[in-house]
Symmetry: D2
Subunit: 338 residues, 4 copies
Amino acid sequence: MVRIAVIGAGRIGAVHAATVARHPGAELRLVCDPAGDAAERLAAEHGARATRDIADVYGAEDVDAVIIGSPTPLHVEQIIGSVGAGKAVLCEKPVDLDLGRVDECIAAITGQEHRVMIGFNRRFDPTFAEIHARVRHGEIGPLEQLTIVSRDPAPPPTEYVAVSGGIFRDMTIHDLDTARFFLGEIVEVSAVGQRLDPAFADLADYDAAVTTLVSADGAVATVVNSRHCATGYDQRLEAFGPRGSLEAVNHTATAVRHSSAAHSSAAGPYLNFFLQRYAEAYSLELSHFIDAVREGRPASPTLHDGRAALVLADAATRSATTGERVLLSSTATTRSHS
Amino acid sequence: MVRIAVIGAGRIGAVHAATVARHPGAELRLVCDPAGDAAERLAAEHGARATRDIADVYGAEDVDAVIIGSPTPLHVEQIIGSVGAGKAVLCEKPVDLDLGRVDECIAAITGQEHRVMIGFNRRFDPTFAEIHARVRHGEIGPLEQLTIVSRDPAPPPTEYVAVSGGIFRDMTIHDLDTARFFLGEIVEVSAVGQRLDPAFADLADYDAAVTTLVSADGAVATVVNSRHCATGYDQRLEAFGPRGSLEAVNHTATAVRHSSAAHSSAAGPYLNFFLQRYAEAYSLELSHFIDAVREGRPASPTLHDGRAALVLADAATRSATTGERVLLSSTATTRSHS
Amino acid sequence: MVRIAVIGAGRIGAVHAATVARHPGAELRLVCDPAGDAAERLAAEHGARATRDIADVYGAEDVDAVIIGSPTPLHVEQIIGSVGAGKAVLCEKPVDLDLGRVDECIAAITGQEHRVMIGFNRRFDPTFAEIHARVRHGEIGPLEQLTIVSRDPAPPPTEYVAVSGGIFRDMTIHDLDTARFFLGEIVEVSAVGQRLDPAFADLADYDAAVTTLVSADGAVATVVNSRHCATGYDQRLEAFGPRGSLEAVNHTATAVRHSSAAHSSAAGPYLNFFLQRYAEAYSLELSHFIDAVREGRPASPTLHDGRAALVLADAATRSATTGERVLLSSTATTRSHS
Amino acid sequence: MVRIAVIGAGRIGAVHAATVARHPGAELRLVCDPAGDAAERLAAEHGARATRDIADVYGAEDVDAVIIGSPTPLHVEQIIGSVGAGKAVLCEKPVDLDLGRVDECIAAITGQEHRVMIGFNRRFDPTFAEIHARVRHGEIGPLEQLTIVSRDPAPPPTEYVAVSGGIFRDMTIHDLDTARFFLGEIVEVSAVGQRLDPAFADLADYDAAVTTLVSADGAVATVVNSRHCATGYDQRLEAFGPRGSLEAVNHTATAVRHSSAAHSSAAGPYLNFFLQRYAEAYSLELSHFIDAVREGRPASPTLHDGRAALVLADAATRSATTGERVLLSSTATTRSHS
């Protein structure tokens, strides 16, 4: 039985706490959140202890592993603190918005990096994972083109946008990890940003973007992003090779199709957002982490995957700003073994 | 070059005349219609002669084949007249609404039946024809269940309904032929009729029906009909066997899919009606007829197919009225070789 | 908190026990199975007590409700026993294979029928439930035609078939309940049975069937069944009315589409069978039951729904055998309020 | 009646000749091809005259309009010659591979440019045209992102590739015109080229590419190209805006869906290539041209559209080679009024 503490009692912390509570191989022992009674309320739901003090997490003898769902700026210190206290860590993405901080983190835990898993949950989505496995198995031949469409239903509040690190580090970073997951080492990044929503006109950020990535072996990934999508959370991809293609069509709430004088075979809107679309992915991600902790195996995606996605996000940000294609040294984003 | 006369300058006659005019192996020579200047106008469009007198068709030395698109009650005498004059015939369905008259027709042209083809155009629809060929080829194993959904966009005028022979002889008859096309000899017929539209409440007819047919080798065909369908002309079928199934999804005008806050991936409405949905089938049917005439081969579907579909329509009418399953003698509806 | 006993530690009992264990409003207290250590093993998984003696269930003071997942012949006596002991009951379908026994059951618990819910789980499937709600809401106008395709992936063992009560009472009964769920009172039943698999040639049963049902207000439901389906568990339906239609397309394991030289946009096979396809329905069904028990409300589908589906199954069996349409008295299958 | 000469009796010339022959408002009078008896054979099929001498086209008094389907290097002189002889012209794309030659062409016919239409047939494809019309009509709000996937089934012979002008001028140019058709003026072009097929390793060309275009009003078009596609001619696009999206799914030969143990709902492969996929577009394009000639109206796409697409292809070629984003002066690719 893996005994778990959850840091951060917000939306994503609540998802992880509930998943832990249902998991037959794990137990939720502790919830930590500095704000008000958030930790207490979440802990009470699942029969766990609560604390506002992060030191209680590090010191808890009955905690084997920590799930970090706190605000991004706290990730690095909490990874270092948890690993230093002998805990395994599952940390939400991104590791940090600053590459220097990520490198400090890696340096601080040298030799223990394998104890940290980064929450790129899409790798665990059954549809994407099936496509990945079939590509690896050679079903379509060597992967040549990966086309990702990834659109949020609605933009976050402008206050959030201001501290988000920009669309590439905040939103595209998931797709950049997906690109690495499929293509391995990336050597070139080009990006174009768009400011479509008037609310973004005064922000130093984009609300839509197209990013093109070239891998070391010549495959190309294209990522089409938008911060809004009328029909819901738009999550699709196509992997294309010489022998065929594998496509992930999107999810809707049910399998109903409507016909009327206006249209035939209309599906419902897409699922609203990531908690719905990737519910199963969150659960499988946690199982992967728990199994790894239990068996003392390194879990993937790793801290290096977290770093590599940030390298790509930085490169995309630079390309969108300068109009230049950014070349990456060949070791920057090497694929982890997964 | 097959030289052709078209009898009937109405909607379906115009379709056939235009198809003949475009066909590289045929020439439209004569159009016959007793009403006003209908024949003249249609003939003028295609550089053919016109007449109001059917005798001119029989006597035309430069006519090899006749396409009969006149009202149903005239079919039998025009088949007999045309065949008697040495012409090949393509006659629109149904041969007649009365089985006795059909038998008189067959008797009157004994030995020349192979010169008459009946216009069950759906056999030539590329989608249905592909499914038929793949079933025959054994791709799904022996056909076990055929499920047909066939709905018109809107009911015909009540004056037409009154002389139509009823839904089974007028509308279902196409699906009954399709059932025979796939299943061969039919030995049992059950049917349930519905009166949904208040306009049908006072008519001795139904505006919707479900018909179940059992073949000599135990396969079952189910036909779901309605005289109205909000989203257009609903034409679908599924052939099911032990190794799989082949389904005909319906046609829309274009390949556009619309997404919005209300729905995702919505196709347009179905094509409006048979002239649109079966445009290609009409053309292929005519090519089949022209090729058969040119090569002196019998064309299919035959007059016996026309008779057999009427036998099934009569049985369905009886079953819907009495509530009894109708058993057919084993030779009544034997499949023609196609 | 509703305290629950599960009777029957087989496949379906295990599903219910796990669902109870995960449910925040219920607790699994007791598992009962007379065979070997089945009860003990299942109870141990969820921290519940085990017994081989049904009397322990009736006598358990810490049990509010009983879920009956035992073999069909035991259902009636266990319903009567449980209700007599003051427990609420969720009983798997069918109530019994014999209508007389069902009537005895109803008579034996007169005044307490509202405490018994029958496990027609498909009413709780999110796709079917959404269609039902939208039909009730009038979106397609009055329901006119309901077309159900329901095929199992592979036939059960012949020993099971021999005691199953026949395809209509064992398999179609789910679809008959769905038909009632949508159409309300059924007044006519016609059915055709097929023996396709040679294994069924010597059995007094069918392995495929088409059933047609007419409702009191003239709507028609068609049910196409087969005991085998190469591509998995085939569960589809279409509700059709004057303003449009609502269709349930089937489920696959993931949202992957494959393209190759052989085909484009190919989905995976259907989910294998009911435990996969209706996993969510089982869970929602149980929640409905638990909520009803907690709030002292009657749960639906009721014992009368269970009886009515059996009446339809008996009628379909008779129709398939005799070839006659079976008329039902107007009160036999009145729709429960749901 | 518009009297037409076709220059070039190859594959595309034959398509145009047949379309003219079927068109009620046009007559094929002359076919011109210098090679062997190609002109004679094609002319004979349609009852037209033949010549090997281009001067006969210019001098033909019974020819109103010329369709140029000759090799690309001949286009400019034949446009100039035909227009100089008072003929209207429909010229296949591209106008020329060299922008200077295109400018010479425009200069040479100054004041008569409206008499020349360029054969970007995809603008006439019913699916793309419907999406374009609905976008213009405001259905999805201002267009924000256009995503085009365009893949040929198999690469052309290497001899052809060597003189093709490169993938952007030969293949992408269609998609570049589509991008302009939807987005209007393009101000930035970025492109990445791929050499996937070993046959391309020694050629100074790519066999796959991703091109990103930004319009003057900030919309982005992404074009994903490949010279090979296992499942056929892959032609899809999605237009995305704040109120929804419109997607063109691809065409297959029939509406058959196959289910088996391996997959469910599999469509057939895509249509093989452009003559099949865009058959209707070729016909509608020609009708548009004939109508324009008959009514003395300018036809679109214009010579300036042909030039603008080449400007974009040149920019994409440069971007792929240098890695730089290419900025275009604001007048280079202004959208024609269509």
